[in-house]
Symmetry: C2
Subunit: 373 residues, 2 copies
């Protein structure tokens, strides 16, 4: 594919700055490897084979997935060491068994005795991680809970307890570097304590898996942890920038939109980039800088002061200053191309079929995304 200018693209569409993506990948890999653990990148953010390969250093390596569709797509592209990091209900076991029978070393996750029983009943030694709740945020058992040993006992007979896993998603609610550093220490402490308790009870527990982009970034000590799962770091986004995990210059993803009109008395630009292109995510609503539905840049990616996508409908975005003040609408005639930085890269990317890959201001490739479950 020859390089094409941005003006040749239909709007709205998704742009990926490949150089920024590779810089984000290299920075995280250097940081995590410097602390000791292996990296098991989460492909749920990119959901695209070239991106998964880049996260693994250019060739298939250990990955994390959020759907069996991602596992299928990655296995077809040569990835074999795949962790499905969502608690497994029994209705997904046949698909898991089928993938494993075809040669994919698919690892699954449980946090309760019933799901563990269903996995053990297959009697095919399905490698299973036990999910630990390190932050009262979502799923998992507390490291000290009675259920921890009960699940391990069930898995021993018919499955393979491969280790423990946690995800400190509560890190998204932190507001300072000190809070993030403390959350990273809490994440490590919880999962290491669970591993030690299992080992003391006579279980093997070779894998100790943590991960979230904020805690991984702020972790200073990962002793006892064997692998780190991170996903959104590959693109970064305004939530990560708001947490201090990255700077705006690290954001690799944006949505290209066209100005389609003006509402002069309301100080609005109207664009063709609505929630169908941006998502409805409002992840910066509690931040010091609330970016509404996205921060607005010119066509080359430079932020335009505090212009944000203030409101969205399905195929309309209303751009205004974050403080609602007037600005010079005449700088943005109908047809002007703008780029919108995403609030939450996982959610924005999910609205699109694939990525127009940018080098500088030219588009050199299109990378499709995997969809569905």
């Amino acid at each position: 594919m020859n390089a094409a200018p941005l003006s040749s693209l239909p709007t709205p569409c998704l742009l990926l700055d490949e150089a920024r993506m590779r810089r984000n990948v290299a920075r995280m890999a250097g940081h995590v490897h410097g602390l000791g653990p292996a990296l098991r990148p989460h492909v749920k953010t990119g959901k695209s084979i070239p991106i998964a390969l880049a996260m693994c250093g250019g060739a298939p390596g250990p990955i994390t997935v959020s759907t069996l569709a991602e596992a299928e797509a990655c296995f077809a592209a040569g990835f074999r060491d795949v962790l499905y990091a969502v608690g497994l209900p029994p209705n997904k076991l046949p698909a898991v068994q089928a993938l494993r029978a075809r040669g994919c070393d698919l690892i699954v996750l449980v946090d309760n005795v019933d799901a563990a029983r269903a996995i053990a009943a297959c009697r095919t030694a399905i490698p299973t991680l036990l999910e630990i709740d390190s932050d009262d945020h979502r799923a998992g058992v507390r490291p000290g809970a009675a259920e921890l040993l009960a699940i391990a006992a069930v898995l021993r007979d018919g499955a393979e307890l491969r280790g423990v896993l946690t995800h400190a998603g509560g890190s998204y609610d932190c507001r300072t570097a000190a809070e993030l550093t403390a959350m990273a220490a809490q994440e490590r402490a919880a999962v290491v304590a669970a591993a030690e308790r299992l080992r003391a009870a006579g279980h093997r527990c070779p894998v100790v898996s943590i991960g979230s982009t904020p805690t991984a970034t702020f972790a200073r000590d990962l002793r006892g942890v064997t692998e780190v799962r991170v996903g959104v770091y590959v693109f970064m986004d305004l939530v990560m920038a708001g947490l201090g995990v990255c700077s705006l210059d690290d954001l690799a993803l944006s949505v290209l939109v066209s100005v389609i009109g003006h509402q002069r008395d309301k100080h609005w630009l109207v664009t063709d980039g609505g929630w169908m292109a941006l998502s409805r995510d409002r992840g910066t609503s509690g931040h010091v800088h609330d970016r509404a539905y996205g921060l607005v840049c010119d066509a080359s990616g430079r932020p335009l002061g505090d212009l944000v996508v203030a409101q969205t409908n399905q195929e309309h975005g209303l751009i205004a200053r974050a403080d609602g003040a007037p600005f010079d609408l005449n700088r943005f005639p109908v047809g002007t191309l703008l780029r919108v930085l995403p609030i939450h890269a996982c959610a924005t990317a999910a609205q699109h079929e694939g990525y127009h890959v940018l080098h500088g201001d030219a588009v050199s490739a299109w990378w499709p995304r995997c969809r569905g479950w």
Copy 2:
């Protein structure tokens, strides 16, 4: 395709109750035709050919689209009278011209002189509607604005001014039947006034187009209006139920999810239906009944009191009572199938590749959706 039980489906997935959909379609058609205008259904909600056909009474008829991709898909399926109801930037003109050259009577929309000039410069008599702002909500010119006649004058030479259009999206902010009835009257008054002003200035203005599901439902007088555009009525959703536009029994769409765990001390069910399956839409947040990310039903579609999806991550949904009170988690063991009614049907459906079509509790077909722009 033979009928299959719900338990044969992968979760999460999208279910469509066809009987409810057909009842919604018939009710709206009867209401609008009873008031006089034609119906030009908006296919942006369903984005699926069998649904578009059902909305048109079984055979291709006049439709509204929100993307050129919908126009392409519908034209390929035999629809020819297609209104693209998003303001047109110049970069989409080549695609519009190409569709028209292939025989699609594609109608476009403008609300400013610059876009009108680009359309007129094609000199191919592209039929164009002039967008009217009836509610200070989004795009369009006010009926009394000087720009109304300026745009019409530009279109006269090279394009075809076919009429006026408005969308009272402000109806979503109404809270009572009286407010909705008043908004419907305001929507009609604005667009009829604009049409009369254009006619008084010597322009033909055969089409007078209004539309939003709430205003269409509460309209009592549509004199002077020639067509009504409605979309979400085909499925209805919790926003519509909250506005009093429908009852919960009218909701045709739901997301099938599996219970994957429990957090007993927090009174949460954990499911595999996160925002990837439900969307991030929070459209009932200002309603008397805030349904968070969706109202939870049993597998046959009966609401379970006030259980809602209280929180979502990408592939996790946390179900709790809306008031946070304890409930009996033992009724919902791991593997239990539940159905989640959508906050905003357009947004939830957009997260899926297609519809598993339900008759009673059995799935009889799969209808794909059109995606992209």
